[in-house]
């Protein structure tokens, strides 16, 4: 039995941002960048997930997702990347968007909610299983940041708003080529198509 419903564009984007929020918290929990005590168990799509309750971390993630939400409404976001850094990038978790949004005459699109939930759950499970294993680099001294791949037009619009908002984005440095790319999973259900994969920048010495 599948559950499908019609959603407007904003509702679709809201669903997508919820998925991203849970995924980012799951990555932080699985990577053990912070002590596990700041994470609390919660449920999303009837799945056990972990969410941070530290206010600074939550504000940081919320500000990022608000920016992504505003850009998605104009379809200017190509990738959202969570970068784990230890002075240099160590690992990058990439969410690559391919938007196929097509509205019906009524302005809504039908989503297969069951399929989206199942695929999202599979992504979170895969993340926790794969990232929970021991790593070769010292995660305790690492921090994280976000990158958004978008277009110049979108950045110009953001600059207009940056003077009045606290959270400011800057142009990133040149991105190095990763040593390896590991796909995690793909969320492919109309109208979403999101590739989730990791890029490893650890050298042979680590």
């Amino acid at each position: 039995m599948t559950l499908s419903a019609s959603f407007s564009r904003d509702e679709c984007i809201g669903l997508l941002v919820d998925f991203l929020e849970v995924s980012l918290h799951q990555i932080l929990w699985a990577c053990k960048l912070y002590p596990s005590e700041i994470f609390r168990q919660t449920q999303k799509f009837n799945t056990l997930v972990y969410k941070s309750i530290h206010p600074e971390v939550n504000n940081y993630i919320d500000n990022t997702l608000n920016t992504v939400r505003n850009l998605l409404s104009n379809d200017f976001v190509e990738k959202l990347v969570l970068v784990i850094k230890n002075d240099k990038p160590v690992e990058r978790f990439v969410f690559s968007f391919h938007s196929y949004y097509k509205t019906t005459p009524s302005g809504k699109v039908t989503l297969n909610v069951t399929e989206i939930r199942q695929q999202a759950t599979a992504i979170w499970l895969t993340m926790s299983q794969r990232l929970g294993s021991e790593t070769h680099y010292d995660r305790e001294n690492c921090t994280f940041a976000f990158e958004i791949h978008t277009r110049n037009v979108a950045y110009d619009k953001m600059l207009e708003r940056q003077s009045t908002e606290d959270f400011q984005w800057i142009v990133a440095d040149n991105i190095m080529n990763p040593n390896s790319v590991m796909p995690i999973r793909k969320l492919d259900s109309n109208p979403f198509c999101i590739d989730v994969y990791t890029e490893d920048y650890r050298g042979d010495d680590s």
């Binding site: 969410k51 379809d75 850094k85 097509k102 940041a145 978008t150 440095d173």
Partner: protein, 448 residues
Amino acid sequence: MADPSDVDKLLENVEQFVNDENKIVTYEFLSQNCGIHVNLAKTVLERYVEELKKKKKDLLYQVVYSLAGYVGKNIRCLLVKDTNLKETILKLDKIISLHVYSVQKGKLDTLSLLYNSNLTEFKKSIQQCCSQSGISCPAAKLKPHAELATNNTTEIKKNVEPVKPEHAMLKKEEESLDASSSKSSIHSESHLTIQDPLKAKEKASSKLPAKKPVGKPAIAAFFANQQAIGRVNPVKEEKKEAVEEIKKSVNGKRVVREPSDDESENKDINVDAIKTSKRFKLSEEAKPVKFHETKAKKNVRKAKQASKTSEKTQRKRIQQFSDSESSGDDEEEQDIVLSSPEMPAQMPAPMSEDDDDVLNATVTEPSNNPKRSRKLVTKAYMDKDGFVVTKREYETCEEKEIPEPTPEVKEKEKSKEIPKTDTQASTKHPSPPGKTKQKSITSFFTRK
């Protein structure tokens, strides 16, 4: 009672699941997969664990037990690892039930994976659950997914009705350009996608009779029919949209109408026809097919021109606001990578666990944070339309620290603290106003 031979077979299955497939085998999973009673599944798992202990391989595996018992008047149901079983049993006043919940190879850091694996396995076995029901109908058979996809396309072909007037056909065509699937081979007699009208006539005249015996209805007729029906019965349109969207979900990609065999020669779709705006990003490049203008399509072209002019006007507005001198499509399409400048604190202080992990749907932020407080601030910014919009938002800002109390006050507090601890169980003494110590940021994380 199960036969010993059946139990041996089930033990082999369990070993296969655990060792070969590396699965987390719960008693529910075993019951659903093997079609046995839950109690039998539990006994099988217990037998398996006993055999592991005999072979002294239990250290390689992890066994999770389901324990239910009384703590005072309350009943507690717990999932306990084998290493913590004895301690947990001692905590309970009376044990109601104890049985093996799951067996897996390797150690699990958390039991959340246990919950998720059980859920996914349950969903896979929904078909098996239906087999256990008493209601059965021999005519009801589950079709495979591939058949369902092909059936949808054949049903659409059958539903097409005779041709309607040209104007209606062409208008509907424009609207449903992107929605039609590439492989739905419904050809239109009056579908104008060929540059040379002469060739079109020749082909139409030559190929029309070939099509007639096939009986495939025209694509325009299909949409015209839908438009006509939609005026009377809007419900049918929704069904058609649902069918189209099912096809989309099957394909999983953005659908672009590919030219049919009749239209394959010298056809170029005007890219603007597909690219209605920059808001929609295409996954595949549209094959170039040109539309031949006719009288009937002037209305459509006017609509396109209007959209183009609107885009041009939008571009002009963007150019007015931006300070950059260079303009044009190259800059607009240039990718840029933005990085967040602020990084959160690397290692926030650990917090103590007051209670066991509870499933909380919402997350609450701490209210007491004297160093940083939220203030209502009015902000003004320029809207898209150029209007100045003022917003009231809460901002976090640092407050000046309150000076620490004098030593005399500290001594008084210490003396007051002592009686507080004695009577902590019964009453709570409110602290005197103005004499409490300022709490630090780590108060968010209570010390053990």
